[in-house]
Every structure is written in C-alpha cells, then in structure tokens.
Symmetry: C2
Subunit: 259 residues, 2 copies
C-alpha cells in the first residue's frame, strides 16, 4: 500500500493524543519482542517510528531514555544495532499482557462480591473493582482478603453493570471507539498490509488501548455493560489484532535506511 | 408463694425502668388475650396491676387512655367489667408477636445480602438490617426490592456478626440480661407459681423484652453474634416463657377485690 494511503487509513488512531514517544516505543517492543531473545534491528525501528510520524531525533531521545531507565538494551552487531527489552522490561511487559490481550469476557463469567471488614476498607485487593464503601467485585478466581465476607455472584441487575462502567475514562473510550470503528472501516476484511504496516498498525492499536485498559481492573464478564464504550473498544481491539496477526520479526524490513 | 416473696424474686425485672403503665398493660393484654373473644375481668386486671406495683389510680388512667386510643374495649357484665383488645389492638399485637415470641434462631438459618441501587438507598426494606451504605442483610425469605442485587449468604466471618450486634441497645440488653439471669436463678427449675404470679411474671418478661426487640429487625441466625447480650437475652426470655407457660384466663383470680 502506498505510504500515504496507509497513513490516511490509520489517521484516526494517530489523532488520539498518543502522548510520549518512549511510551509508544514500549507499546511496540511489548507487542513485537516479548519472546526471549527477540529484538528489533535499528533500521526496522527507525522505519516503524517514521511510519508513526516520529521524528528521528525524537526516536533517538526516547531510545536513550528507555536504555537509561533499564527498559531497553541495545547491542551492536557490525554496522547495525539490535534493540530488545531488558529482563525488567520483559517482565513488566509480560505482566501487563494478560490484561491487554485478553479476549472480551463472556457474559456468564463467574464473579464474586466481597464485603471488607471496616478496618480493611482502605486497600483495594488486586483484580477487584470498588462498588460502594467496603464492597468490591471481581472475577471468581481473584483472591479476596482472608477475613472478608465472600459471596458468589448471582443474576446481575442492569443498573449495577451501568454503575461499574469505567466512568472516569468514558470520554477517552468513546474517542478510541470512534477511531477504531473508522480504521476498521478503512481496512475491510481481506485488506492486505505489509509486515511493516501490520507492526505499525498493531502498535497504534495496542498503544491506545493499553493507555486506558491498564488504568482499571478487568470486570468479570457478568458485570460488563455490553453497551459501554469500554467493552465495544475491547471487541474491536480484539478483532483488529486477530485480523492482523503479529508478523514475524524476520519479515520486517526497513523502508528507511538510517539505524 | 407469699406476695412479698414473689416480689422479691422478680425485683430485678421490676427495676429496669418499665416506663408507662399503658405500655405495661399492652404487654399484659398482648401476652394473655390474643385469642378472639378473650378478655380480662376488672378484678383480675387490678390484681395483676397491683402485683406490678401500679397504683389503682394510675391503672385507671392508663385503661382510660387505651380505650380512648382504640386499643382496648371494656364491656360491663353485671357488677364487673371485662377488658379486651379492640380489633385494631389485636391486629397490632398479632403483628408484633412473631418477633417477640420467636425462638432463638439456629446458627445455620439461611440469609441473603442485598446491594441496593444508588437511588433506593434511603429506604430500608422490612426485615433487613443495614450493614454499610446500600448494603443490607436479612433472612433468606425476606423480600428484597425488585431491582436489587441479591446474593445468597455464605460462611460468615466473626467481625460481621460483631458489627451487626444492635450496638445502640447494647447497654439496655446488658441490663435486661443481668435481670433475667437473676430472676432465672430466683425461680429454679421446679419452682411453682400461681396462675396470677405466672401472668405477672410473663408480663414483666414480655414487656422488658419487647421494648428492645421491636426496635430492630431480626437477624438471620447465621449473622447473630452468639455472645451478644441481645442473643443471650433471647435465650433466657425463651426459656423463662417456656418454663412458665401462659395460664388459662379462667384460672386467674384476683387477690385484690376492687374492679
């Protein structure tokens, strides 16, 4: 696909205020290089960053920062560098992956409601979403505090699903939803993309999705409001990543030559 | 038993601040005359009231008030009056009876936790006890609001039972508990009382018990703190009323002659 055409078709995802270049780079490495020993050659990285409208100087600064912060390691091999996640970077990326790549939950997924003792109400246990003071809900397999009252979920009234929408992120999810729907329409079933384009598209999708989804715990399926922007985004993210599977690193070749 | 001896043995229950005479009279009629057509002859009523340290003038004023308020009806037959609950008085008495006379609940009694929609949180449905904003608990057969989230009770942590004690009434229950224990000791197994003494004793027990127990809904057994004064009172009230069953009205004969 001509570069201009690809950019045009993916523009909605580029207009969401993608924040920092280093964060975008983490999204790319997280999507492409989680496997032990996986890395991205300098020219390929430059090519993808250019495809994401990142200026070479900004990409160099971000890479420098990520190396200083211990997220990325770079190794020279002949004339080109290969960049990879550090052990710490890989560990953090792998920890976040279940939340980012989880398929949309089924409506029957088991859940639990937990009532916390008065003294415990300050701390939110991992995997749980607060409902009202001292009451939290979560998937049936989330670990409730030892002393809590744990009740198995039952039929869920609609108002509870509505109430549990990630309300503070509603506007952001709505913006992402609009972008995902537009890009989905611009890349109809059967549309072919080069491996570099796929890596770039996936980076755009994963980056904008993880910015939101990592800000709140996953609700068990029974408690998910099927009409909420968050859930509709989840469906489209999952569909787009499935339609454009992760390309093999060896199939990526730089359009730009600088590395 | 000599009158002084009976008074001495039941003194602890007489020292609890029994409040108004008309209320004491309601306790007596409620315990003795719930059956359709049942009534208490004036001389018998006077005898019991005297046995409760109520002055004849105070008893007359209370009876007058209860008639005016439509709780009691009085019918002359020859030289003596017979007093009975009015239809309204009977209805209210019968409505309160399950709570007053219920046996102490078993520890395995099924219960439910209900989460109310945000808009409904003001009103407490009948039979439920509030836990925390929007969360109420009650027996499994209590009727939850149509739109609420209803969860079947499970294993109950100790802190929840403690938290659900009727804390505002703790001092009153402790005082009643002390009195009941003392009277229980003063009236050992096998102790015989006259029908008039039994009616008087039951009135003292029911009166002091209902003043407290009608102020809060019954907790399902699984949520009852077995060590709480409220529950220990319940056990003793039940035991005393069982040990001294309601006498037949026809067996009551006045010690006093005024009527």
């Amino acid at each position: 696909m001509p570069p201009d055409d690809f950019v045009r078709r993916t523009t909605p995802l580029r207009s969401l205020g993608m924040q920092r270049v280093w964060s975008l780079m983490i999204s790319l490495f997280g999507d492409m290089t989680q496997a032990e020993g996986a890395g991205i050659d300098g020219p390929v990285l430059s090519g993808i960053m250019t495809g994401l409208d990142v200026k070479p100087e900004a990409a160099r600064v971000a890479l420098h920062r990520l190396r200083n912060d211990g997220w990325i390691t770079s190794r020279k091999s002949g004339r080109i560098s290969r960049h990879a996640l550090s052990a710490k970077g890989r560990a953090e990326t792998i920890a976040a992956s279940p939340r980012i790549y989880a398929p949309p939950p089924g409506a029957a997924q088991a859940w639990q409601l937990v009532l916390l003792p008065e003294s415990d109400s300050a701390e939110l246990p991992a995997g749980f979403t607060p409902v009202t003071p001292r009451v939290i809900v979560g998937p049936a397999d989330a670990k409730a505090p030892a002393k809590a009252l744990v009740l198995q979920g039952a039929e869920v009234p609609g108002w509870l699903r509505e109430e549990l929408r990630p309300a503070a992120l509603e506007d952001d999810y709505l913006a992402l939803l609009g972008a995902l729907e537009e890009v989905m329409g611009n890349l109809p079933e059967g549309q072919r993309l080069s491996p570099m384009e796929v890596a770039t598209l996936r980076c755009l999708v994963v980056h904008n999705w993880r910015r939101l989804v990592l800000k709140h715990p996953a609700l068990p399926g029974a408690l998910v409001d099927r009409g909420a922007a968050a859930h509709r985004c989840h469906l489209l993210v999952h569909a787009l990543l499935a339609r454009f599977p992760r390309p093999a690193l060896r199939d990526l070749s730089p359009a730009a030559t600088d590395g």
